[in-house]
Amino acid sequence: MMFCCESCCSFVLQVFGMELQAVLMAAGGGSRMMDLTYNTPKPLLPVGNRPLIWYPLNLLERVGFEEVIVITTKEVQKALSTDQRLKTDVKMRLDVVCIQEETDMGTADALRHIQQKIKTDILVVSCDLITDVALHEVVDLFRAHNATLSMLMSKVHEFTDTVPGQKGKKKAGEQRDFVGVDVTGKRLLFMANEADLEEGLVFRKSIMRKHPRMLIKTGLLDAHLYCLKRSVVDFLVHNKSVTSIRGELVPYLVRKQFSKFLNTKNATEDTEKNQKQQDAHHNLELLSTSKEEALLQLARERSCWNDHRGDMSEAYHGGKLRCYVHIMEEGMCYRVNTLAAYIEANRVVPKLFEDPPIHPTAVVTERSLVGSDSIIGPYCQISDKTSIKRSNVGTSSTIKEKVKITNSIIMNGVTIEEGCNIQGSVICNNAVIGRGADMKYCLVGSGQCIEPEAERTNEVIVGSDQLMEI
């Protein structure tokens, strides 16, 4: 089932549409880049002059989804219905479900919230994912192994650029995620954060016996893209304590793969029923959902296929719950959840578009210099003797004479007066940069005015109200 070429895609579309429902999680606040998201909700942040939410929508549309459930906030919903570009670009039917911002719902809560709408297995995508992954790789794992969970991971990117407002190098002591996969690199056996592993890694010998060669990888980025069995949603409905998919549900599923109780079926059920009534209840919930149809079982018995070699025991060692992961070896995968990732994504993404770097409605004088690695949004005005290199300029921005912009992100409606020098900075919506200002590695918040002749280096300039908030 490996469809790589364009011609096959239509078939893939059809299949996807029937067997999977797409859920897009777009209600996150972007708490790790508050400076950016204070005025603009994360899904609407411009990346390569498109709102961030466009990227996952496009990803789903490319593989043929015709409908997607978007879980988001009121604010984003309004923008979704007004944004012209989104309207013209995205042909899928968007089933927008609003949740209240204040309630602080986790991703699992959100799934519980929409459980009525879920009829089949689901594909959950986060709104901050920008990737060119061949999505069928993930889904094929899900299909081929009748998996409970399959997910996407990629190599972590090293952000080399200087990030505004960040003092010194990023501290190396970041807590790493430890991901254990089997020898094929597909089966997900173990997942934990370094913070929870002070006592060291512990594996049961029985797990090692089933998977005698385990690769432990660190330095992987979880793309927050999950295929989940419908039964998992039912499980969530019964377990209200689980609030987050990544934080709780996925580790739970990974652990449960080797739970004896789940695999030995009814034998132990009676004896342990009394003591672990509650636990048993939960487990049964998962089991009933992952109960394979009799035909499938029969097919596996009759087949000589096996998922492992070495011993002669049955495929999957009789386990009913299986988690898989597709790890991208190459290609692009960003999660725009930090400022550094945001800057990096803006730098990389424009190269992927086929449309002209300068929007036809933009006014660019002939005597200015716009590098081919830059993009200029609609209704922009670029004046004489201005040079723009490796930068993105958003909609309706005005850039006056003799301005030099390198390695920067200019959002929408920004005005930059004459003679400015802007390098490695992010200028948010509707900001005004005064004449002759020199900005290096700065972040200028929405609607801020920078006084003329200012010289700023490595600063975060935001409104006073915003500072109070933080």
Partner: protein, 698 residues
């Protein structure tokens, strides 16, 4: 592959001295492309041929190797390289093969009718080893005699074998310390046991090892060779289960543990801080017990006189990696064969693998050991027959059968998966399956044998049935008409007799554990055990599959005994500081083994401690070193009280000393925490009360 064997095996029989070079040529023809990569064997071959033409004395042979002999085509940098050396330890330092090894050292036990040490030497020679040091201890003279008669000591041998014997070796550690003392090795060497059967091509691993050493001087000291064999594989036995964590890219070993007795496998976090982002945890490896060592290995054994086994060494090196900066790497082979005959189950497995030709080119019909009259024919279904075999009417050799010369087999026998030695007589209607029958064995009519070992000169009388995993050691007589239950071990040596006769230190490790009770028993053959005409004593049945518990205890006992005696021989010359170090390592061991044996061990050690812990200052020193140990292991703090209590009860420590230590101002937070431990507080309170009450009494 098989075709080529047929092709080349025939001339070998007629021309035994040349067979090696012939075989190589054949092999080179078959594996044309491999010729370049295997330079060393080629060089060996040339020399071999040259020697046949004009035999040299061993001395000049050696000189020729070190200097620049007539090697016309290979005048490149290989010249500067030292000849590859190997250290072969022809002693197992354990008693897994008891009682068989009471009569014959393990290295000389026949495996497919060839002594095990010959397999090892053949392997070493074919990987290009030019000088081998064979270290023997138990029954050294027999090994020496065997080697002197073998082809390895002929002047034409490309591999010069030196036999070094000493009764004082008690472990691998002693051997390597001796290697260091005698400065035998000049550069990287191979370290193997005398019971390793292998056909692995080491050259790639050797090259990697050399490369690592040239890149980082003296950092990587050892490359261990592993064979891939997932759980459930035939060559795996529970005893040898190991779990390894390695760096995915550099193949460096980060963690090495024997997993036999463990339910949960624990990996400390610090091994993942090596800067790599890919690690592998492997449970699918079989330790071939072949390692490429640099000369530092011997030095390290000298520096750390408490290293006894390779396990000690590897673990010690990994734990102290940050301090010493030494690393161990690994090489995993997929298609080679390598296994150590470490117990009888492995003996069974390796034998059958040899017959099924997994160790090609080391096969029975190759007669690689070049023994006279040992040549045999190979026919369909892996049936091998040496000369002079006679087979009665209606007897069938089904598959995987090897029959030694001049053996006579009666009528209507069924034989499968079996090795029979030379000059055996087997009666009519005998069924043999997975039987390993050595030389000069007499088996009468109507005998059934399943998966058993029958040693030299055994007589099995009419109608005997041997169930699985029976062992009949040398000269035993069984029967008639008796059925031996599964796992019976019979020997002419009485299980108790080692108490009386064996003053040999090597054997005396666990005398006093179990046998004392029945010492008074009269030594008569029990007809219920061996049959009415039988001769032999029954041994504990557990010896085939050593239970984990026993093994663990045994290894501890062995070590402690050894250290104990070492201390006594050093006759009080050591300072207490040294003793403290001993105590530390001892304590570490208890904690490591779950503290099961600490009491008995302490009892054993008590006299030594008492001798040294005399002054109050000594007590403080002793307590300080104990504290040091426990501070490193927070999880074992509860055990501190137990150890203190036992030492108090054994009168090694006195209450004043303990109180003084407890009240002593502790410097670090952690040691203060240690003192606040619930159990410890209770103990101190109890001590105080005891003291007060004794004062009141006065």
């Amino acid at each position: 592959m098989y075709v080529s064997i047929f092709f080349c095996s025939r001339p070998l029989i007629f021309c035994p001295t040349l067979h090696r070079s012939r075989w190589r040529k054949c092999a080179a023809r078959v594996f044309g492309s491999r010729e370049k990569t295997r330079r060393r064997p080629n060089a060996a071959e040339e020399r071999n041929v040259c020697h046949v033409a004009a035999p040299l004395t061993p001395l000049s042979n050696m000189a020729g190797k070190a200097g620049k002999p007539s090697r016309p085509r290979k005048a490149d940098k290989d010249e500067e390289e030292q000849p590859l050396q190997a250290v072969l330890v022809a002693d197992s330092f354990n008693r897994r093969f008891f009682p068989i090894t009471k009569d014959q050292p393990r290295a000389l036990l026949p495996l497919a009718n060839v002594s095990m040490i010959d397999y090892t030497l053949e392997f070493l020679t074919s990987t290009g080893v030019q000088e081998t040091f064979v270290f023997c201890c138990w029954m050294a003279s027999k090994i020496k005699e065997h080697l002197q008669k073998s082809k390895w000591c002929r002047p034409t041998s490309p591999n010069v074998v030196h036999v070094i014997t000493s009764d004082l070796y008690r472990s691998l550690g002693d051997v390597l310390r001796d290697v260091d003392a005698k400065t035998l090795v000049r550069s990287d060497f191979l370290l193997v046991y005398g019971d390793v059967v292998s056909n692995i091509d080491i050259s790639q691993a050797l090259q990697e090892h050399k490369q690592r050493r040239s890149m980082d001087k003296n950092v990587s000291v050892m490359t261990m060779i592993f064979k891939e064999s997932p759980p459930g594989h035939k060559t795996r036995c529970e005893d040898d289960d190991i779990i390894i964590a390695m760096d995915g890219k550099s193949k460096r070993i980060l963690h090495y543990q024997r997993a036999q007795a463990l339910k949960r496998l624990h990996f400390p976090m610090n091994i993942f801080h090596s800067g790599s982002d890919e690690f592998e945890i492997r449970f699918d490896l079989l330790d071939c017990h072949i390692s490429i060592c640099s000369p530092q290995v011997a030095e390290l054994f000298t520096d750390n006189f408490d290293y006894q086994t390779k396990n000690d060494f590897v673990r010690g090196l990994l734990v102290n990696e940050e301090i010493l900066g030494n690393q161990i790497h690994m090489h995993v082979t997929k298609d080679g064969y390598g296994a150590r005959v470490s117990n009888l189950l492995m003996y069974d497995t390796v034998s059958s693998d040899t017959i099924r030709r997994w160790v090609y080119p080391i096969t029975p019909e190759a007669n690689f050991a070049d023994l006279e009259g040992q040549s045999c024919t190979h026919s369909r279904h892996n049936v091998y027959r040496e000369t002079g075999v006679s087979l009665g009417h209606g007897s069938q050799m089904e598959e995987n059968v090897l029959i030694g010369r001049n053996t006579m087999i009666g009528a209507n026998c069924t034989i499968s998966n079996t090795v029979i030695g030379a000059n055996c007589v087997i009666g009519d209607n005998v069924t043999l399956d997975r039987a390993y029958i050595w030389n000069r064995v007499h088996i009468a009519d109507d005998v059934k044998v399943k998966q058993s070992v029958i040693c030299d000169n055994v007589e099995v009388k009419h109608g005997v049935v041997l169930n699985e995993q029976c062992v009949l050691a040398y000269n035993v007589v069984v029967g008639p008409d008796i059925t031996l239950p599964e796992g019976t071990v019979l020997s002419m040596h009485h299980p108790d007799e080692e108490d009386d006769e064996d003053d040999d230190e090597f054997l005396s490790d666990d005398n006093d554990v179990g046998y004392r009770k029945d010492k008074t028993k009269l030594k008569v053959f029990n007809p219920a055990e061996v049959g009415s005409e039988g001769k032999g004593y029954r041994w504990k049945t557990s010896s085939l599959e050593d239970t984990e518990e026993d093994e663990l205890a045994e290894c501890i006992w062995g070590e402690i005994d050894f250290r104990f005696s070492q201390f006594l021989t050093q006759s009080y010359k050591i300072s207490f500081r040294n003793l403290g170090k001993q105590l530390t390592s001892l304590l570490n061991q208890f904690l490591y083994h779950g503290g099961k044996f600490y009491k008995s061990l302490l009892k054993k050690w008590a006299p030594v401690f008492k001798n040294y812990v005399k002054r109050p200052q000594d007590q403080l020193d002793c307590l300080a070193s104990m504290e040091e140990v426990f501070l490193e292991r927070e999880t074992h703090w509860a055990a501190l009280v137990k150890v203190l209590m036992s030492m108090y009860q054994l009168e090694i420590l006195e209450e004043e000393g303990i109180m003084h230590w407890f009240n002593q101002g502790s410097t670090t937070d952690k040691s203060q925490q240690l003192r606040r431990n619930q159990g410890l507080l209770k103990f101190i309170q109890w001590l105080q009360e005891a003291e007060e009450s004794s004062e009141e009494d006065e």
